[in-house]
């Protein structure tokens, strides 16, 4: 399948992330194949596709959670294929999770503060021993990120008792507190009610814009994709079947047939297919 021509929006700038011929197989099952994508700095990329299409596998490979079977991943021209996730994080790629990964027994502030302190420490065991967790810099960073994600009213709440939307914001905030340059969000609005989805995405996207972070987010809601993405990658059967602006991708006949369904009227105004 050779439908992915280089996208025009990607040209001109040096890509922050570039992925070549990426493939992941589990025994005879092919979870991802022939993925070649290049993302310029500060672009917001939406990733769509049905369950099992390879979206999360793709995110997992880029963030080091899964080792690719084939292909290469370059971050700012540096090969990161197969590096452990913690080293990839140190280079400047962060991620959030479909199910918020937070520390339930700690308060929102302590969650954020430990994340900030880790980001400020050098990473090795000795670096971790040498730096205090509650340094003024880490505290300031934690406070400003809590404010940025508008969860100040939950600052001292134990994380296990947080409402779903706040958990998501905290999860993303913890990924952002170390000032990554690339952030991968795996279904940031999953488990959130339809009424709250847009508010949540507004908070998240304006926070990320203010920190000039390149974003790649997996999303099922086409309205959200149309509203927040500069560019949309459509995954089907482990590979990218369409890559372009939201209008282009959502208007693609293959995408409509295989992912969005022909009857969907996209909010981006692209779904004119009868």
């Amino acid at each position: 399948m050779n439908t992915t021509a280089p996208v025009t929006i990607a040209s001109g700038e040096r890509p922050i992330l570039s992925v070549r011929d990426l493939e992941k197989t589990f025994g005879s099952l092919v979870a991802a194949r022939d993925i070649t994508v290049s993302i310029p700095p500060q672009q917001t990329v939406g990733v769509i596709g049905a369950n099992g299409a390879g979206k999360t596998t793709f995110v997992n490979m880029v963030t080091g959670h899964l080792m690719p079977s084939k292909g290469a991943i370059l971050f700012e021209d540096r090969e990161i294929t197969g590096m452990p996730s913690r080293e990839i994080t140190r280079l400047g790629i962060s991620r959030s999770f479909q199910v918020a990964q937070i520390f339930p027994s700690l308060s929102v502030f302590d969650n954020m503060c430990i994340a900030a302190a880790i980001a400020r420490s050098s990473g090795g065991v000795l670096g971790g021993l040498a730096s205090p967790v509650a340094s003024p810099a880490a505290i300031a960073e934690a406070e400003s990120t809590i404010e940025l994600f508008q969860i100040s009213s939950y600052r001292d709440t134990t994380a296990s008792t947080l409402p779903q939307g706040v958990r998501k914001l905290l999860d993303i905030g913890m990924a952002v507190v170390g000032w990554p340059r690339l952030l991968l969000l795996d279904e940031p609005t999953s488990g959130i009610s339809i009424e709250e989805k847009f508010d949540l995405m507004n908070v998240v996207m304006s926070a990320l814009k203010s920190r000039k972070i390149t974003v790649l987010f997996v999303e099922h809601d086409m309205e959200i994709v149309g509203r927040f993405a500069d560019r949309v990658l459509a995954f089907y059967d482990g590979t990218v079947i369409a890559d372009g602006t939201p209008d282009e991708t959502l208007a693609d006949p293959q995408v409509q047939e295989l992912i969005t369904g022909v009857k969907l009227k996209s909010a981006a105004g692209a779904g004119g297919h009868a």
Partner: protein, 319 residues
């Protein structure tokens, strides 16, 4: 937070001075009981380091016994009797053991961590029992220690060891306190809660746990060294699983909320044990079991949680 911390340190410091000053006035049996209790408290401090990260070791006796045998053998083979040097060597010896063992242990969690550490301590027990040159099950006696050239006897020796154990204990407590406020130390609760998030924040969980195993091992060795000098004898029972179980008992009694609680808890444990042994020699285990039961039922977070509760109540009162 920092003010409460400051006050806790002040109270801890005053208690330390009080305990040190009371030494000469106390009867010998109390001095020796307290010395053993504070030596064991160092092992418990190590267990607290692990416990906070959700790890229970049923094999801390491994390091305790190694520390004790390092003291006994170094004195026997080299004639070195300086207590400070011996304790240092014991800490290093047990610490190195923990570094090596840690490569294996740091990959395990929960019951597997607990049982694997128990198994390792029982291997040492088995080896010592079979080693006739080291006295087999009888063990052998430890040469009388000296203190930077000062060579006390009888009561004076007991008192010197008491002061030394207090001092080493205080240093251990302060260092563990500093560790708990560092990034690596503060990662205990996050690791217990969610290892995936810790890894994705850029930290190797296994390495942090490896460091915790090492710290706990070194503390165990130092505790064993002080106990060996106080008792004046070492034997394989120091590595037996019931010894490890005793340390876990004290950790439950003390709780993990405070560093000082390890010392108070250990003192209470030794006190109850010797009292029970005195009053009903055949039923003392039952008394200890009842104390453990009551602790778990009514004070699940241990003695240390009492202090935390008090502090919190005072904080809510003062605006």
């Amino acid at each position: 937070m920092s003010m409460a911390n400051g006050r806790a340190q002040l109270v801890g410091g005053l208690l330390f001075l009080l305990a040190a000053a009371a030494g000469p006035a106390l009867p010998d049996w109390i001095v020796s009981l307290a010395t053993i209790a504070f030596a064991n408290a160092l092992v418990v401090l190590g267990l607290i380091v692990l416990w906070r990260a959700g790890l229970v070791s049923f094999g801390q006796a491994l390091y305790y016994c190694i520390g004790a045998y390092v003291v006994a053998l170094t004195a026997r083979w080299t004639g070195i009797t300086d207590a400070f040097l011996l304790v240092l060597l014991a800490g290093i010896g047990a610490g190195i053991t923990a570094v090596l063992v840690g490569f294996l242990l740091a990959r395990y969690r929960e019951i597997f961590f607990a049982m694997l550490s128990l198994a390792l301590s029982m291997i040492l027990y088995g080896v010592l029992v079979k080693t006739e040159s080291l006295g087999s099950t009888d063990g052998f006696s430890v040469m009388t220690p000296t203190f930077l050239g000062y060579a006390p006897h009888r009561e004076a020796l007991g008192l010197a060891l008491y002061w030394m154990t207090l001092g080493v204990g205080a240093v251990g407590a302060v260092l563990v306190g500093v560790y708990f406020r560092s990034v690596a130390g503060a990662l205990a609760a996050p690791i217990r809660d969610n290892e995936i998030r810790v890894e994705f924040l850029g930290v190797s969980v296994n390495r942090v746990i490896h460091a915790k195993v090492t710290i706990a091992g070194a503390l165990g060795g130092v505790g064993g060294a002080l106990a060996a000098m106080t008792v004046g004898h070492v034997d394989p029972n120091m590595a037996y699983w019931t010894t490890s179980g005793g340390f876990v008992f004290v950790t439950i009694l003390a709780g993990t909320a405070s560093v000082a609680a390890a010392f108070v808890g250990s003192l209470v444990f030794e006190g109850v044990r010797s009292f029970a042994y005195d009053v009903m020699p055949s039923l003392w285990q039952m008394t200890l079991g009842s104390v453990l039961l009551l602790t778990i039922l009514f004070l699940p977070d241990g003695l240390g949680s009492l202090v935390v509760k008090l502090r919190r109540r005072r904080e809510t009162k003062t605006p």
